[in-house]
Symmetry: D2
Subunit: 357 residues, 4 copies
């Protein structure tokens, strides 16, 4: 009626590009993280196997359906809450954050406690009640474009999440309803740069709706990277031929690994970035822990430095290196460095404590 509200999703000179970070995975920083997993969690064995495949291939997140929506009321609805537990377990074992589709506000509290990202499917893009509820959880939301939604309508749906004070929206272009029976939907890769011009939110692509043929998914995955998408979704299954759902559109382990290889060097670079971030995180955690130990020791009057322990640690690192096939001296040097920083931090911390006392 009156003046137009300012839309939070729009690019404006004063708004930075949003980076949505889930653990070490980052959407919107120029990398191309791959979200992969089976259409639906079928069993513990299946989802653990899927997690291993995704991790091995260099995927960044594990995705699977738990409370499932299907065109037909007579289809398998998923394992429900049990599926959520299994997905969480598979995430832990594979070291990957997880994402699952949400269908109703009713069980959002449970799901958002066990899963890292909440996915809103294309059919629910304009289920505004669900969007508002998802926004209110504070969890990152992966928002698919409806199969005949304009870009502006899609961003308006994102606005529902943002309006709840939740900035972590990842947009997913997954194709529009097309007229050609050869492709069930048209994956509109050209929508990626057009959308990125309008919004500061990251945009990933999901080429699954086109056709489940690995020979088609792979070039589209590569094209998504070239066009500047902020990530990729692919459906995989440990044994696609015997899958309960999503038949025909899930890549098997070999096709997935081949795809990841063809994404190649850039993917390795992402992997390195991820490990580096993990290293820094581990070092920080180590530092924090060693400072805690120092305090405890100090309070109990125990000597701080134990050269024997340090020598032992270094020797262990050498041995680990050997078994992993890298130069033992490299590991020893790393440990030396780590230990030296550790000592400095401990000393500094104790000085501050005594200064404060």
């Amino acid at each position: 009626m009156s003046d137009e509200p300012i839309l939070k999703s729009r690019r404006r000179p004063d708004v930075e590009t949003t980076i949505v970070a889930i653990d070490n995975v980052r959407f919107g920083d120029g990398s191309y993280p791959v979200i992969a997993g089976p259409a639906v969690v079928e069993s513990e064995e299946q989802i653990l196997a899927a997690g291993r495949i995704v991790a091995e291939g260099g995927g960044s997140m594990l995705r699977s359906g738990t409370h499932r929506a299907d065109n037909s009321p007579y289809s398998f609805r998923g394992l429900g809450d049990e599926g959520v537990w299994l997905l969480e377990k598979a995430g832990h074992e594979s070291g990957l954050p997880t994402v699952t589709e949400i269908l109703e506000p009713g069980n959002l509290e449970f799901i958002s406690h066990h899963v890292d990202v909440l996915e809103v499917g294309p059919d629910n893009m304009q289920n505004f009640v669900l969007l508002r509820a998802a926004g209110a959880t504070g969890k990152p939301v992966l928002l698919h474009r409806g199969s005949s939604a304009t870009i502006d309508e899609w961003l308006m749906s994102a606005e529902y999440v943002l309006a709840e004070g939740n900035d972590d929206v990842i947009l997913c272009e997954r194709g529009s309803r097309g007229f050609d029976p050869r492709t069930s939907d048209t994956v509109d890769i050209s929508a990626v740069p057009v959308t990125q011009q309008i919004t500061h939110l990251p945009v990933v692509i999901d080429p699954t709706p086109v056709k489940g043929d690995p020979e088609i998914i792979s070039p589209l995955a590569l094209a998504g990277r070239s066009v500047g998408a902020d990530g990729l979704i692919v459906a995989i299954h440990p044994d696609p031929e015997n899958a309960v759902a999503g038949n025909g559109s899930q890549l098997g382990p070999d096709s997935f690994l081949k795809l990841m290889e063809s994404l190649g060097i850039p993917m390795l670079r992402d992997e390195i970035d991820r490990i580096d971030r993990e290293l820094v995180k581990l070092i920080a955690r180590r530092l924090h822990s060693s400072v805690e130990i120092a305090r405890i020791k100090a309070s109990k009057g125990i000597a701080l430095r134990s050269p024997d322990r340090e020598a032992e640690l270094i020797e262990e690192a050498r041995e680990d290196a050997r078994s992993l096939g890298i130069e033992p001296q490299y590991a020893a040097d790393l440990m030396d460095l780590v230990l030296s920083y550790s000592r400095d931090a401990q000393r500094q911390s104790l000085d501050e404590d005594s200064a404060g006392s």
Copy 2:
């Protein structure tokens, strides 16, 4: 996976065409009932006025938004539960059954107690959780086709309601997303007979999405009747220029009356059918009441027939007829007939009672 389930929505030799009856309104019996009302309940005054216009024009149901979905999270969301109360009141005052859009399972119990038909909008056509919950209420469901849904997908969504044991589904064709900026959506009238070939459920049309121009809505309403649709939805507003929502697509009172006139003779015929059904219902109710009175009188030893009362009734009917401009003798004859049947029924009932004792 295994054998295909039999779809309840499909025409089969052993399945009759479904007639969804709400009070006197029937969808699927060859009539063309008109559902009309404003996009959203704005105030008591507005919705009461709308009800009067719809009733006066010969519309069959009153429709308006209460808990409202809008593309933008910053738009007016409707009056919520208060809107539901006001819609119910307007329905009572105008003598029209009511329909409002539902958005979430959470408040379905409340809404289904106060409104006659639950509407599922095109954006929620594949909100399967909502469909299941709507089905479970047992209330008739008005199910819009999604703007890029195939007919088969639409029927699959209806299946969710039917699978809950609720047979009262009215399908609404409201157009598919088109590419021509001249018409925001293409109202696919040709989908009506195609859909009716496949399903036994009634199919109504809603030409609103094309363009709010009365000069366009009216010919489409006529075409809908010719093509065999089972009813029509039109958006009307007592004062379209000052409407809070749905601007530009709501007919004003004059345009609505003109449209209803152009629907003309067939509409009058429907009206007559409706009144006849009402007459039969009233007579049945009268008969039932008079039998009850007879029993009470008998149990208390009061004389059954009171010729004075009958003469009085006939005289009143004559007077009513005069004030309504119809022949008094017509009314008197009608009352004679009614009273004669009434007496027979009373007598028969008392005989049965004494036979049973």
Copy 3:
């Protein structure tokens, strides 16, 4: 670049609605003429039979393919110029004007000498060279909307014909490419009133592309009338099951007659209008001829009136009436009237001649 040219196809206060008249058939005057015929001329026998069916059912024009375009280069291309001759013959025998699709400027001269209306198919809607050439013939052009053309693009194509000084353009809405496999194309009936708002040219509809099922074609034909279309195209064939082309989308004789009956009273009214126009034309021609005769007689000194001849004419009319099952006196009175006018005109003409000499 510079100022926009005024578009001739657009409605403007100073431009009247265009009526395209071909013999007695008028598009744009509120009637609903039906153009019917087989997809392609197969043989003399077939097209003559088709002409008889169309005429018998009350159709207004005979349409068939002669130089044929088909998706496949290996399909039957039609009988070519021979087909044109046969179509012309069938038109003469059935008393119906004819229409055939044109494909290239090369044979337009020939075709436009033998056929009454030139049809430009949806595939050629933007074949601007062909449009210009068709415009230049001066023959009426039946211009199909391309399957994904906007209304504005369609009118721009009409503009090519109009720009050649040819005002006789009939627009044909035949559906847009849709996504639903249930209907090969979506016949956008709503486009009819929208288009009529913008242009003064007549708009007919062709529901053939939806589905060849008579149960679908008939309701759409009725809806087209209700929505205000200026005419209808239907594909018919004397023996649809053995048709060489257009299989599955052509109505057989019975389905066609049933459709024409269901178009019913309004069609009869059109038929009457057509006959009346024919009557007036015949009378005018008769008058003209009798005046010519009078002049010749006068120049040769032969007596003008021959009462024997007149009595004979009246007697013949009586006899014709008897054999046609109408009241002989009706025919006699008609002849009296015709003869009386004839005499007056002859006399008047001779007076003028002598006055002029």
Copy 4:
């Protein structure tokens, strides 16, 4: 009707992937040649400038409109045959083969004598008369997909060219009509691999219809390469702001050069391949000429070898090398090699001649 004809466009085990070669440019061999040029030839100055820009940027072909089709009959129709002459001249000066759109069979003979590739635009994809005529010229045909054509329909149109015995068809995916006003058409990059699975013909992409924004064209050009397209079309203009036609969708010189740079190393590799092919061709031509000279000398009794001439050639090569900034010895060695082969060929040829006499 009877048995289906075998489609020449389809991949079959016994059919190799088609490589369409125009001079040194090859479509279908894994390279990614870029076709570029202005929407329409406006003047000699403009098209010569465009040719220079395309050649400088590393483009492979020069493309421009001469006989132009435009939605409006009142728009600039191009320079016609004069435009063809100018395009040919610009092609010669820039060393690039040329391509222009054809509209009618009438002037195909003229155009095919002066231009290297005949382009059939999306509007004419089903102008079967034109396709047949284009096929009959024997010239390579660049066939755009219609804006709502299915892949199968597109290949059926290619079949019209192939059926004339002309195997040189390059398919161009240029997007389908979409519903989103943000992008006038959806460039369906996913159609590239799907189409390549079905046909052995090369498939190039033209992202122009999406939006003329260089920031959108460039990522799509890169994505086209990643997805495996066999080439790219981009619209460029020496001065886009003052272009007569195609405003807003033509890249300026800087944007074009930046795009070509971002296509980067793979483009350089293509360039090298092109030069190598050119080198081999030049050497072959040189060999042929020197043999001819030898024969002439022999017939006239002139000595075959002139060491002075050879020394002179080597010295010239050294000097050219210096001025081009490469090592003179490299050029000298090349010439030594060339001359040595030349002598061998001359000798061999003369021996054969005397043996034959």
